[in-house]
Each structure stands twice: as C-alpha cells, then as structure tokens.
C-alpha cells in the first residue's frame, strides 16, 4: 500500500469515491524463476525408453543418467515410470552415458513417442509445445540437446518463412543488463499516464467463461510480476482480479458482458474489441454448456444458454461513432489509455489510422493465425490478412500519415514464441499480445476442444468447477513467470546479436529479416 500511496492520492482527484472504495491493496508478485514441473505425474515427452523383462534392476541406468530419467525407488519391486521429459533422446547416443547402449542386459530401447505424431498441428508442432512447457518449467529456453525446434513451426508460411539475418558477430558487444526491453504504451502527449511495460508483450483477452478463473488469475499475477498487463476479455470483471487492477486491461466488446462503469474506472487500460483476427465478422460465442451458474452470474445472463456477442458494435457503425465511443470511456476514466483491437481486413491500414485519429492510444491488430478451439476452423484459416503483411502495411501507412510515433502498434494472432514476437517487432509493431502460448505454458495440448462441453480436459479453458480446480494459482503463476523469463532471455539474446540496446531499435527493421521464398541464403534455409 505504501508504495502506491502517491498514486492513490492522484486517483482521488479523478475517480469518484464510490469507485475508489472498491479499490483494494494491490498485490505484488515476485519475478523470481522457480522450477514449476508439469502438473501431471508423467509429462508427455518426445522420446520413450522402454524397458523389457530382461532388466535385472542392476541400477546402472540410474547411475549413468545425469538427468535422472530413471527412477528406482527403494522398496518397490519395479522401476518407477521414467521421467521421460528429462531425456534428450538420440542426442545422448554420442555421450558416455547413453543408457540404451550401456545396459548390460540390453533391456532398454528408445523410440520416438508416437504421441508426437498427433500432438499439436503445423502451427504449433509437438516440439514447440514441449519446448514451451520446458520454458514454463525452467524459465529458460530448452537446452539444445533436447532437439526441440522452438523458433519456428511447420506451417510453411507466415512467421515460419521469415528468418533473422544475424551478423556474424555483434557490431557492439553488450551485456544482458545493458539491454532495455521496455516499451511505452502512451505515445500521445495528451496528459494521460505514460505507462511503460517492462517487456514488449502483454496477455491477451480471454473471458471468464472461455477460460477458468484460475487461468485468469495466473495470467494476472504473472503480469504483475513482469510489470505488464493481462486482459479480462469480455466476460465480466471477477472480484478476485481487483488486487491486480493496476495490471489489468478490461475489454469493452460487442456483447458488453459484465462491462460496468465501475469496472472501466478500475483499470489503467481499456480495450475496445471490434473483432478478433481468428474470426472476424463472427462476433463471439460461448456455447451453452460452458455457461454455468458462475458464468451466467458474472455475465448476468441466462444459465445454460449459448451467449453471443454480436459481430458489430451496434452503437458504432462509423468512424465518428468510434470517436464518440472512445470519448465516452475517456470521460468515465480520465486516466485510462485506450486500445482499439481490430482484425486485419484488406483496409486495416485505414482502420488503424482512423482509430488513431479518433483518439486511441494503442492500435491492436489481430491477425488470423491465433484463436483457440472456440474459433471455427473455416474462419480461423480463411479470413483476414496474414498478420505479417498487416503489421508492415499498418506500420508504413502510419509513418506516411505522420502518426507512427504518436500511437503504439500492437500485433497479435499467432505470436507463439519469442522469435515470432521479435519478427513482429522487426516488421513494425511496438509489441505483441500473447494468448495461446500462455495456455500452452499452463499445460494446453492444443486439442482444440475449448468450446465443447464444459471445455478443456486440462482444466484451463473451462468453467467446470471440478476441472478448473485441477490447476493451482501459484503453479499457474509460476509457469507464466517462467515462460516470460525464457522469452525475455531470448529477446535479449536477439538484441545482443544485433548490437541493439533497446527493443525500440528493432521496430520496423525489415532489413534484418528475410523471407525464405525470396532468399538465396542457403545457410539460412538449412
């Protein structure tokens, strides 16, 4: 409380007493990385070591393995299930502790986990999921010997065809603590707070209803730890989010579920969601099964009914309506920054500059690669301009209009890994919004069943009381803190290789990127 007393005083001047009365002490969360192993006993691993009956329990494998894959618990008749997620697989063959080769009984055999063939998809290959889990567990990029490809997916397009052209050696030698990864969210000189976040990303909007309260709270706590933001989505503002108010973006979306004057007044950033890149022109859907008592209460809607957010804002059919809409929120909350989230139609550049002219602080363009299972496939894969085109287009158009340095450009929709983020920034964004990666860090397997039944079998995107409590808030928080840490390290590494002191220097540096389809650089292609 003491830390923000000055801030509390200034709030008194701009917010009504009754709103401030609902304000509670803001929680602090440490950024420290702590191990956060998977919450299932046997984490899905890339390789499986099978042990046959020839094993005599000599214990050699346990002795050999420096990673502790093999577990022989005293007092048990058999070996325990090995900790396969620690195994580096065939990379071990060259070492002097390869258990399969050295087993005196030849009782061990290594195979690739057949699950790798079904886990994930082209956008999120199994390797990338496993790597993200590792990051969430350790706070670090997985060691190279694990052989987990985590810089690119396998789509054959989008960010997966873009590569950085790193210099052979950095032009300037910098140490990690000299690198600044922060970005400013308010570039308008309009007297509103100049909010800076420590890393160039914040959490995407997922409503209570689409995800569980545990997921929302974990995201919020990680945002506090890393001095960035999370977003409520449009399913209402959970009371339990209040200790994190200062790091929350609340959404004003077309359904206006749970949006109240008070919730708008609580937060430093309000996001207008006009469309989602994953399903532009389709509005939002929460199918009836996920509309439980808790959800319907938050949204003040009817239990068990599918809830639709209309595809347009019925109050906004034009740019001057948009301005009026922004002015309204500015009036309600004189300290709020406004973000306008739009999808990427062919005239996204015009939409962006129009939003800027109407007074938004953040233009948030959401491309079509993102989206959870709740977004229909037909939409996810077929509508909207690919985000990598949209970023460059909007960036250059804003520059041409002389507005680029007065507005923050945020990109989202398929930013899966730190490399994607860096590429988006090099294309011209100031920062990014992450969504699915956070869910993967919490244990998502990309089964794409977010919308059906009570939702997520892993208890992330669910509203089922039993499923949701499968996850613990402390654990969820730590997983995300760790993920952020790994991303941070990777970003710092990229900046160091370019000899850049700040992530702001990377913005718009398309000259540092190449597209594999248009490149003869064999090294890069390999």
């Amino acid at each position: 409380m003491a830390r923000c007393s000055a801030q509390e005083n200034s709030l008194k001047e701009i917010l009504p007493e009754n709103t401030l009365r609902t304000r509670v002490a803001q929680t602090q969360v440490s950024r420290e990385v702590r191990p956060a192993p998977g919450r299932y006993r046997n984490e899905i691993a890339k390789y499986i070591i099978r042990r046959n009956d020839d094993c005599i329990r000599c214990g050699k494998c346990v002795e050999l393995c420096p990673r502790g894959v093999h577990v022989d618990k005293p007092g048990y008749k058999y070996f325990a299930e090995p900790k396969l997620d620690r195994c580096i697989g065939p990379a071990c063959e060259k070492t002097d502790h390869y258990c399969v080769a050295q087993c005196p009984q030849s009782a061990l055999r290594m195979v690739e986990n057949p699950m790798m063939k079904v886990l994930g998809d082209c956008r999120w290959p199994a390797d990338m999921i496993l790597a993200t889990w590792k990051m969430a567990e350790t706070g670090d990029v997985p060691a190279e010997e694990f052989g987990l490809e985590h810089e690119c997916g396998a789509t054959g397009g989008g960010f997966d065809r873009l590569r950085f052209k790193f210099p052979d050696k950095p032009p300037v030698k910098l140490s990690p603590d000299e690198i600044d990864t922060s970005i400013e969210l308010n570039k308008r000189d309009d007297g509103r707070p100049r909010i800076t976040i420590d890393v160039p990303w914040y959490g995407g909007g997922m409503s209570f209803g689409s995800v569980s309260n545990v997921t929302q709270l974990s995201k919020a706590r990680a945002a506090v730890a890393w001095n960035t933001f999370t977003c409520t989505g449009e399913g209402g503002y959970m009371e339990r989010m209040r200790p994190f108010d200062d790091h929350v973006i609340t959404q004003v979306a077309t359904g206006l579920f749970g949006v109240r004057e008070e919730t708008i007044q609580r937060v430093p950033i309000v996001e207008f969601k006009y469309a989602q890149g994953a399903k532009p022109g389709l509005g939002g859907h929460l199918l009836g099964d996920k509309n439980t008592i808790a959800v319907s209460r938050m949204r003040e809607a009817v239990l068990g009914i599918s809830l639709f957010s209309p595809f347009p804002f019925h109050s906004v059919y034009s740019i001057e309506d948009h301005m009026k809409h922004l002015d309204w929120i500015k009036h309600l909350n004189p300290r709020a920054l406004l973000s306008t989230k739009v999808s990427t139609p062919t005239d996204v550049d015009m939409v962006a500059v129009g939003s800027y002219a109407a007074g938004t602080h953040i233009v948030h363009i959401d491309g079509g690669y993102g989206g959870t299972g709740a977004a229909p496939d037909i939409a996810k894969k077929n509508i909207a301009m690919p985000i990598e085109y949209a970023i460059g287009r909007v960036h250059r158009f804003l520059e041409a209009e002389g507005a680029r340095d007065k507005v923050t450009l945020i990109a989202s929709g398929g930013i899966r890994v730190a490399q994607d983020m860096a590429k988006a920034i090099a294309l011209g964004a100031d920062g990014v919004v992450v969504g699915t990666s956070e869910l993967v860090a919490l244990g998502c397997v990309r089964c794409s069943r977010c919308e059906s039944g009570r939702g997520c079998p892993r208890g992330i995107a669910t509203t089922d009381a039993v499923l949701a409590t499968k996850m613990d808030i402390e654990w969820g928080t730590q997983r995300l803190i760790n993920l952020y840490n790994a991303w941070y390290k990777e970003l710092v590494e990229i900046l160091m290789r370019f000899g850049m002191r700040s992530v702001k220097e990377l913005r718009g540096r398309t000259d540092l990127l190449m597209h594999l389809d248009y490149s003869n650089d064999v090294k890069a292609k390999s």
């Binding site: 009504p16 206006l256 008592i293 003040e300 009817v302 009036h331």
Partner: protein
C-alpha cells in the same frame, strides 16, 4: 423514356468514357465513416448564415478534412440575373484549384458550347487563414449561367440519335457529359488536380472545402445569400494527409445535390452496377456513386421518386409481405433489376433538388433498410414553414434557433419530430418536403412519405407572436393567483390551473402566467415549485385548443431558462439563502463544495463543448466528487455523456436535463435518477446498471445496448435496436413503439423471478392529450429475435402482432403473476406521464381485463434452458469469484 432511348443515352456515355480514356477499374480512394449531415427547407428564401450554426453543431461528427454545403432556390436579384435566367439556365459552378487554368478551361469547355447569360467569380475573404476551420486554401469558384448553343445541342442529339428524347432532357445529358469531360481532363486524370465541376443544375449551387462546412459560409461570404433549401455536410475521411475539396460532399447530379452519412459495404458492387451502364465515378468516394445512382434512376430511367427510393432501400421481410399485391409486383421487378446497385450497409442520404419541370424544389431524406444511421425529421408549420432533416436532433434545434432569431415567425420548437423506418411498408424509410407555389404564388411546403401519404401534423394553427412584450399589468393580476396556488397546491396545482384555462387564454395570457411563475421562482421559497410547475407544462401532453403546442412549449421553456439564469451564480454570492447555484462555462472553475446537502447545481450547458475535459458532463462529475447530489442541466445543445462517470451506488443523485440532450446520456449509471425533459438522442443508457431513467419524449438509436438493469420510462418511441444484448434486470416501459429490432438477444433472466422485461404500450397522446393506440403496436419485422431471457409485454388488444415477427420467441397468455409484476411499473408510468392504467386497459371505450389487452412474448430458448441446468456450482462460484473478506 423508352428502352431504345435509354440504350442510346447509355451508349453515348460509353463512347464518351472511351474517348476521354477513363480508367475502367473500380477504385475507392478515401475510406469514410459516418459524418454529420443536415438539411432544411423554408417557405421563405433564408440566408446562408442559418446553415452555419447546425454545421458547427456537427463538428464532432467530422474531422475538419472536408465540408460542403448546397443550396437550391435562389432569389434572382441576389445573383444579378433575371427570374428567367435563374429558372432556365444551368448554374455551372466550377472550382479552380489552380486559377491559372481558368481561361484555357473556359476556351475549351464553355465558350464553344454555351451561351453564357452571366458569369462571375464568387467573392471570397482575402486571407483564407483568417477563417477558422479551414485546412487549406479553398478553391476559387466561378459561376456561369449557361444554356447549350442550339447548333451544339442539335449536333449532340444527332450524333447520339437522341431525336426522340425531350430536348430539355437532351440538354441535361449534354451538360452532364460536358462536365464529365471537364472533370476527366482537369481533375481525375491528373496527379495534380486543377479544376472540377462543383454543380451543374438549374437554380442550385454546391460549395466544398477542406475544412469544416461552416467555414464556407464565411469564406465565400454567403451569410446573406438566400435560398429555399440548404444542406450541409461535415466529412470524416480517414485516409491521406492531403485532401482535395473534390472529395467532399455534397455531390451533384443534374439539378440535385446529395450528402451522405455512412459507408456502404458494397461500393464495388454498386460501382459495377453503374459501370455496366457506362457510368464511371471520378472522385472515388461512395457518395459520388450515390449521386450517380440517383441521377441514373431519376434522369435516365425516369423512375418516379417512390421507385427510386425502392431501388436504393428495398422493402424486405414482413414489410414486403404487407404491401399491396400490385406494389409487390412492381417492387419485385425493381429489386430484381437494381438489388446489386442498392447500397448495402449503413447510409443515410439527404438530397436537395430543383425539379424544374414541375416548378418545385425538394428536400428529402432516405434511410437504409436496416436503419443503421441515426436520422431525425422535423416540421414547423405556420406562416413560415420549415422542414428539417438531420443526423441528430441537435442540428435541427440549432437550425430552428438560428432561423427564429432572424424571423420570429419561426418557433425554435418544431411541431413534430419523427424518425423514418427504413425499407418499411409504413413510410418507406423516406420523407420528402416539396416546395411548391400555391395559388397566390407563395411557396408552401408539403411533407409526404415515400408512398405520397402526407405526414400528419398537429391541427392547431394559431401562432404566437414571439416579439410581443409581456404586459406588466397583466402580471400583477396573476401574481396573487399563482402565489396562492404555490402555497396551497404546489406545482401540480399550478399546472392544473393552467391546463384548465389554457384553451381560453391567449398566448399573451399564457406568457404572463409563465413569466409570473418564473418571477416568483426567484424567491427562495418558490424556486423548486416554480421549476416543477414549468417542467410539468413542458412534459405533459394536454389540449391547447387552437394554439400550437410547440409555441406554448417554447414560451414556457423560455421562462424556465429565464428562471434558471436568474439563480445565484456559483461563487458570486456566498451569502445567498437560495440553495440553487448556477454554473456556466465562464464560471466553471468556481466549482466548490455544495453550500448545503440539499443544494442543487444548475448547469447552463449552452457554452460548453460537447465532450472532453471541459464539457458540462465533466463539470457535473467534478461537482459530484465535491459532494453535489442534485443537478439540473439546461439549454443543452447536444452535449454528450450527461450522468456518466459517477461510479457505483449513486442512489442519492438526481439529474434533470432540458434542451437538446446529447448522445450516451445515462450510459453506465448505477443508482442515480436522470430525467430528460424532451426528446433524447442516440446511444442512451449503454450498459446502464441500476437507477432510473425517464424520457419525456422519443429516444434515438441503440437505446440501452448491453444494459444490466435500471427502471426506464419512455414517453414516446425508441428508434432502431433498443435493448440489444441486455442482461440482468432492466425494466423498461416504452409508451410508443420502436422502429425495429427491439430487444434482440435479450438475456435478462426470468421476469417473474427478478429478471428484466419491456412493456411496449404502442400508444401516443393526440393533440388533445388523449391516449390513443398507434396503428400497430410494433411495426418492425424483428421482435425479440434470438432472445434467451426476459419478456416483452405488448399492449396488443387487436392481436396485430404475428408469428413472423418473432425469431425464437413465442406469444403466451398474460397471467395474474405477470400483471402483478408489471402493474407497479404502469402505475409509475401513470405518475410520470399521466398515461393512466385505465387508459391503457380501455379498448373501444370499455375497460378490459389485462389479459385481453396485453400479450407476453417470451423466448423459446428459456424453456429449453431450464431443462439443461447443469451441476450447481453456486458455492464454488461464491468461493472462487468473490474477493476473500480479509
């Protein structure tokens, strides 16, 4: 025009386009959103300065990157020509962005073809930067009164085989094609634009600038130029750092000017439709395309206006089914031909025309079928008639105010305000003001809808002389009566006294009474009673005999404002005993804590900007934070967000609003009571949570979108899309009806267990203040679509509602539980508006059982939901969503 001729005209345009090398691909240059549009017509020619105020009112609907005005029906003398020249010659207005090209242009496009009766360069201000609201130097404009030379026209007719065509129609076409060529050479084909035709009709002028529309009036010094019809447009283009006035509205057709608010989704389809008819846009905005489309339907196909409107805004759904079979046949043919050229998406057109053939001027407004843009029509009858169309009521009020200051025969309050229902069988979504000479040669205005039906107006015709002064002796006589009533019977007593006598009184008597009330109100003990009495006279509907209600409303509002403005100003007199304090823009910084708990802050809104840190709503919010709880906001001119931002639990706050209240009023309120004494605008009560909202009039578009609760009472109609996506427990009484899409996706629980509902009475008060049913309680095609909760109680004794209007709803019988639920709201409705429960239950002069009068509409989905209810996670929700009490 027969088919061959139409083909020949279209072919001639095709040859022309080929000859000038027009680029045939369809492009769109500027992305535009909505804009501000206003138009008015007057039976007298009125000066250009009257378009100034309404244009200024619409500033926040444009961004200063494009403005334009048009005028129709001039006074010959002012233009220095004869009546004959004004009526018969085309007024060619050409904008020269580069004045150097003028002589070359004239040599090429004017001298060879035209007989020029008169020409001049429009006067202008020397230093354009001295005119506020201009972004770049406006073009020089030249006006030429021209007719095609006989041999030239003969050759044109011969070349294009237009012998069968009426000679004047051929001349129109010649003018049109000449302008096309000129624009192509000097504007469309160039990187650097040099000149373009602003307008080319008879007795019509269009002017455009890069800036705000009202700057035109100042820059071209047309403050005193008189015309019968004026329209103005504030543009909001979003692309480009450099703008040209060519892209600004209005756009011209022959004898017409069109402004547009909106943005169609199918620009390319409409352009393609035109391209197939050899018509090519040159300015690359959807408004130009709209003007071209109208011109095509009007001049080439020679459709009657009704069919033109049908081609633009087709009649669909239930509305189509309700048309006469003959009409259906005609409309079906029109739709089959023109549906691809029908603009889709949000649009609203205002068009000014000179119909030379019929010797009349015309002003019309057309709204799109889905009614996605706001629109208001108004009419002031009397010796001087005024017809008005605007995107918002505030622009209409500003026009009337401006006109009345010049001519006291014009009352600042219109006789009627109404909305159009787009693509409907009732009014066709369009209203037309025709200005025609009567037998005595005086111009009179008639107003009809798309189908030619006259718009009903109040029958009272006796006008008030607003210039007359109040007779002081009259006052003394009244003071004793009123003073006694104040003490004995309060505001209601005074109100009843006035209503009992008003039919016999003259306007002078009424004014004297109002002045007396206002004067007595200056005394502390009388202030609140006086305010209440004048407010009742404003709000309630009662018989005024042969006197015009609008004029009486104006009289009493004037006195009410006089009373307000006489109250002690904030800060000036700390010693005053009165607990009312007046704040206006000039002394807004004197805001302090209230002198006593019951103190009322009276905000004179007239000087405040419509939004931003200095707007009246922001001052109100600051005052609230300093402890004020009671507010009166008066003389509003469209200021937005009144009542917003005060936060939760504001049950002790009341706000009374007078004047042209603005958009988003009461949005998000949580506990407070807000009363609008008159019509309200758009987007009221967004996400409204709790509290009470009373509107003594109509309310505009998307009323209570995403509402969560509150008790709401509307005396009149709610325009399109009220209560979309409402949840929780809003309880709403609408005494009139709604245009369409009422309570779409309504999700407000079960009304019988605390959920929300709408009572739709479908009635109005006639000129005598009697409650009468509307023709239909709900004319729209969509009622309660996709709703999953709540209910609508409709007063529908004749069972006019049909299943086709529902999409996921069902009619069920009204039970006694329902009646017990809604009765208290109807009783409150009675208290507020004087519409009694007994009035509502009376059908054919007999009071009926409620179940015979009201029908209940419920969502089918809610029936399903009850069977679906899953595991009860209430306890879990309590534990996991609420903040732990620590």
């Amino acid at each position: 025009m027969n088919r061959t001729l139409i083909d020949r005209v279209l072919t001639s345009r095709g040859r022309l386009a080929e000859r000038v090398g027009h680029l045939r691909d369809i492009r769109k240059d500027a992305e535009e959103g909505g804009c501000g549009v206003v138009g008015f017509c007057c039976s007298e020619a009125v000066a250009g300065r009257h378009i100034y105020e309404p244009s200024k009112q619409m500033h926040n609907r444009g961004n200063g990157k494009g403005g334009g005005i048009a005028a129709v029906g001039f006074v010959p003398k002012q233009l220095g020509v004869s009546r004959d020249v004004l009526d018969n010659y085309y007024m060619l207005h050409i904008a020269f962005l580069d004045p150097g090209v003028r002589s070359a242009l004239e040599r090429k496009y004017i001298e060879p073809y035209f007989e020029v009766a008169s020409s001049c360069e429009l006067d202008k201000v020397d230093d354009w930067q001295s005119v506020a609201g201009l972004e770049v130097c406006p073009p020089d404009v030249c006006r030429y009164f021209v007719r095609a030379k006989e041999p030239v026209l003969d050759a044109f007719i011969k070349e294009n085989q237009l012998d069968g065509l009426d000679r004047s129609a051929a001349e129109d076409e010649f003018i049109n094609q000449n302008s096309f060529k000129l624009n192509q050479e000097y504007y469309a084909s160039l990187g650097e634009q040099q000149a373009f035709v602003l307008s080319h009709g008879r007795n019509i002028m269009i002017l455009k600038v890069v800036g705000y529309a009202e700057a035109i009036v100042k820059y071209y010094k047309i403050e005193d130029l008189c015309a019968h019809v004026w329209i103005a447009h504030q543009r909001y283009p979003t692309k480009g750092r450099v703008w040209h006035p060519g892209g600004a509205h209005p756009f011209a057709g022959i004898d017409m000017a069109l402004v547009h608010n909106g943005d169609f989704a199918n620009y390319h389809s409409v352009s393609e439709h035109l391209k197939q008819r050899n018509i090519y846009p040159q300015f690359l905005t959807d408004t130009e395309v709209s003007a071209l489309l109208f011109d095509l339907l009007n001049r080439t196909y020679e459709y009657p206006l009704e069919y033109i409107i049908e081609a633009l805004a087709p009649t669909t759904e239930l509305d189509f089914d309700r048309l006469d079979p003959d009409k259906q046949k005609a409309y079906r043919a029109i739709q089959a031909t023109h549906i691809h050229g029908s603009p889709d998406g949000p649009w609203f057109f205002i068009i000014a025309r000179n119909i030379a053939r019929e010797n009349k001027y015309q002003l019309l407004g057309i709204t799109d079928t889905a009614m996605l843009r706001p629109q208001v029509f108004a009419f002031c009858d009397g010796e001087v008639q005024v017809g008005l169309i605007g995107s918002e009521k505030q622009a209409i009020d500003a026009t009337l105010q401006s006109l009345s200051e010049d001519d006291p025969r014009v009352c600042p309050v219109a006789d009627r305000y109404w909305n159009a229902r787009g693509g409907s069988y009732t009014d066709g979504g369009s209203f037309i003001f025709d200005l025609k000479k009567d037998a005595e040669g005086k111009i009179r205005i008639g107003c009809t809808d798309k189908f030619g039906a006259a718009v009903p107006l109040p029958t009272a015709s006796q006008a008030c002389d607003f210039t007359a002064e109040v007779d002081a002796s009259e006052l003394d006589a009244q003071v004793i009566t009123i003073d006694r009533l104040f003490d004995s019977k309060g505001a209601v007593g005074v109100f009843e006294y006035v209503v009992d006598h008003i039919r016999q009184w003259t306007y002078e008597d009424i004014r004297a009474i109002c002045r007396t009330i206002s004067r007595l109100g200056a005394e502390k003990r009388h202030t609140s009673v006086a305010i209440d009495a004048l407010t009742l006279l404003n709000d309630r509907k009662y018989s005024t005999g042969s006197k015009k209600r609008s004029h009486i409303v104006h009289l009493q509002l004037t006195e009410l404002y006089r009373l307000f403005r006489g109250l002690p100003r904030l800060g000036a007199d700390a010693a005053t005993e009165n607990h009312y304090r007046l704040v206006d823009f000039d002394n807004r910084d004197a805001l302090c804590e209230p002198p006593e708990e019951e103190a009322v802050l009276v905000i004179d809104a007239s000087g405040f900007p419509p939004e931003g840190d200095d707007c009246d709503a922001a001052v109100l919010k600051r005052a609230f934070m300093k402890g004020w709880r009671r507010f009166i906001v008066f003389a509003c001119r469209g200021q937005r967000y009144v009542g917003c931002g005060l936060g939760p639990d504001t049950d002790d706050v009341t706000i009374d609003v007078y004047g042209s209240s603005g958009d988003y009023l009461a949005s998000g309120i949580d506990g407070l009571t807000i009363t609008v004494h008159g019509n309200a605008q758009d987007q009221l009560g967004q996400i409204i949570k709790r509290g009470k909202l009373v509107i003594h009039g109509d309310v505009g578009q998307t009323f209570m979108y995403g509402a969560k609760g509150a008790d709401v009472y509307v005396l009149g109609n709610a325009a399109g899309r009220p209560l979309i996506n409402s949840v929780g427990r809003p309880k709403v009484v609408i005494n009139g009806t709604s245009l369409d899409f009422l309570a779409e996706s309504f999700m407000a629980g079960d009304p019988l267990t605390g959920g929300g509902f709408v009572i739709l009475n479908g009635v109005r008060c006639n000129d005598d203040g009697k409650v009468i049913p509307l023709e239909e309680p709900y004319p729209g095609s969509n009622l309660f679509s996709l709703a999953s909760g709540g209910a609508i109680y409709v007063r529908d004794p004749e069972k006019r509602l049909v299943d086709q209007q529902l999409n996921g709803g069902a009619y069920v019988a009204l039970t006694s539980r329902d009646w017990d639920l809604i009765l208290p709201y109807l009783e409150e409705n009675e208290r507020l508006f004087g519409i009694t429960v007994s009035d509502l239950l009376t059908v054919d002069s007999r009071e009926r059982h409620p179940a015979e009068v009201y029908r209940k509409v419920v969502p089918l989905a809610s029936v399903v939901a009850q069977n679906l209810a899953g595991t009860d996670d209430t306890a879990w929700a309590d534990e996991h969503l609420e903040l732990a009490a620590d």
